[in-house]
Amino acid sequence: MAGRVLVFAEQRDGQCRKSVFEALGLAAQLGDEVHALLVGDAVASQAAELGAHGAQTVHTVEDERLARYWNEGYAAALAAAIDTVQPDLVLLIATVMGKDLLARVAARRNLAALTDCITLTENEGTFEAVKSMYGGKIFATIRAKRTPAIASLRPSAYPVPERQEAQPTVQALAVDLPAEQRARVVEVRKKEEGQIDVQEAEVIVSGGRGIKDPKNFEMIAGLAQVFGAAVGASRAAVDAGWIDHSHQVGQTGKTVSPKLYVAVGISGAIQHLAGMRTSQCILAINKDPDAPIFSIADYGIVGDLFKVVPALVAEVKKVQA
């Protein structure tokens, strides 16, 4: 289809997310005209990077009130860009911001909404997505019954396209922002330096009930550190109050697909397995040889995790040296 795709180029602190480039790569496959929208305060400098990854036209909406995410302001900007570009498909990343914005704008413009897509394809003018449902227990194919469609793409589902020598056309877009900021971000709190978010991590090391004590998450963090990994947790560990919910992997936590998932002292409840079974490689450490986690693990070590984990840390360090 000779179509037009509009990509929302999500940025925080003036820096575009890597996944925006993934979306641009997919946009170039699906359409022959790729537009990007940059919203923020003094963000136009990002336009060149968007051009190098496939955006032919970059529309910018800049205002100091847009420096932080303001959902109604950003929605007004995206709706205005849709009205200007008249795309067949609007593409966002399934991040906190992307999901929030998609719902507002899909409702406002009555768009067919495909969310958290693992794949997104087009067939004779109809967009089809595969997405996970029931916490990963089902993979469903969803069809958009009309265009334009609006879709959010799961981060890391598509590769970043190769850089090209290309200068995009940059156009400032005039938008009537709402006069009042009814919901206004007054503060942004960042986690401690060096902590990696489970949804952005290439490697995740998770602890479960088997680690027995919240202080043993220090041991999990130690193993995570040698892999450059994020710390994850099972629901049992979160519900016991051992670690914050933002670390939870599973149906009422995050669904993840890292390159390596290390499950330490996690037996493998159905809702946990559903949330991590699409990981490329799974390593499980558990003292119970019959634990369900071993049924999906590529490598399983049956043994006392309090001995296995320190040995693993030492061995990985040795290999890396």
Binding site: N71, G135, I138, A183, E200, I270, E315
Partner: protein
């Protein structure tokens, strides 16, 4: 304060999900249904707001089939004052955007100051309803709340989870707020609550909405197929001495999985 909580019955997270013979829906046989866990956080928060103020009303609103009354009854047992259900077949079976239109039509009549929803329902995970509802009401929203404070009783100060941190958002009322896990710990219904719930009203309503925009007919998207997740067999399991096993596994991570 009058608060409406939107609740959807969903299969329990412990449930095994089987695909029905049509290949595009789930087989409901022996599937335990519960109130969507994120909606339970919303119910709990609404009750806490009412209790802290010593006045107000909490209404639970569901767009679902008749069977949903048992999940509504559980919310009433937790302390919710009354239930409202939309069960007109023409209004069911739509997508998240259509559901938001139906909810908005009911909520306009109920005129609450605050609507609380779960951040998403753990069944089809369309992840649009609460925010689309705010759009149709022309209200502001805050999604993914992990804390709600009331500095002056009118404006809400909401902490929401974002990647690698949190945002603090001030929102004027009326507003829609969606609940993330961590907002609170939902209570169990007391025996007294369960008894009281039997006498609380559940009202069926049929809101007036444009039929072309809701239900299966108005949906922008449809499920065309459901499949189990990609198969994944068990791999190599090591049960020997740790000193021998760990180097073997690390070697495999390096040579076979190409991770190190």
């Amino acid at each position: 304060m009058k608060i409406v909580v939107c609740m959807k019955p969903v299969p329990s997270s412990e449930a095994r999900i089987n695909i029905a013979s049509d290949g595009r829906s789930i087989d409901p046989t022996d599937v335990e249904m519960v109130a969507n866990p994120y909606d339970e956080y919303a119910v709990e928060e609404a009750l806490r707001i009412k209790e802290a103020r010593g006045e107000g009303e909490v209404i639970v609103l569901t767009v679902a089939a008749e069977a949903a009354r048992s999940e509504i009854r559980k919310c009433l047992a937790m302390g919710v004052d009354r239930g409202v259900i939309v069960q007109d077949p023409a209004l069911l079976g739509g997508d998240g955007i259509g559901t938001a239109r139906v909810l908005a039509a009911v909520i306009r009549e109920l005129e609450p100051e605050l609507v609380l929803c779960g951040k998403l329902s753990i069944d089809v995970e369309s992840d649009v309803v609460g925010i689309a509802l705010a759009e149709y009401l022309d209200w502001p929203h805050v999604s993914l709340a992990t804390k709600i404070e009331w500095p002056d009783g009118k404006m809400a100060k909401v902490q929401r989870e974002i990647e690698g941190g949190a945002e603090i958002v001030e929102v004027s009322l009326p507003a829609v707020v969606t609940a993330e896990k961590g907002l609170n710990e939902p209570r169990y219904a007391s025996l007294k609550g369960i008894m009281a719930a039997k006498r609380k009203p559940i009202e069926a309503v049929t809101p007036s909405v444009d039929a072309g925009q809701v239900g299966a007919a108005g949906a922008g998207v449809e499920i065309v197929a459901m499949n189990p997740p990609p198969a994944r067999g068990g791999g190599k399991k090591f049960e020997g001495e740790i000193e021998e096993v760990v180097p073997q596994v690390v070697e495999l991570l390096k040579s076979e999985a190409k991770i190190l």
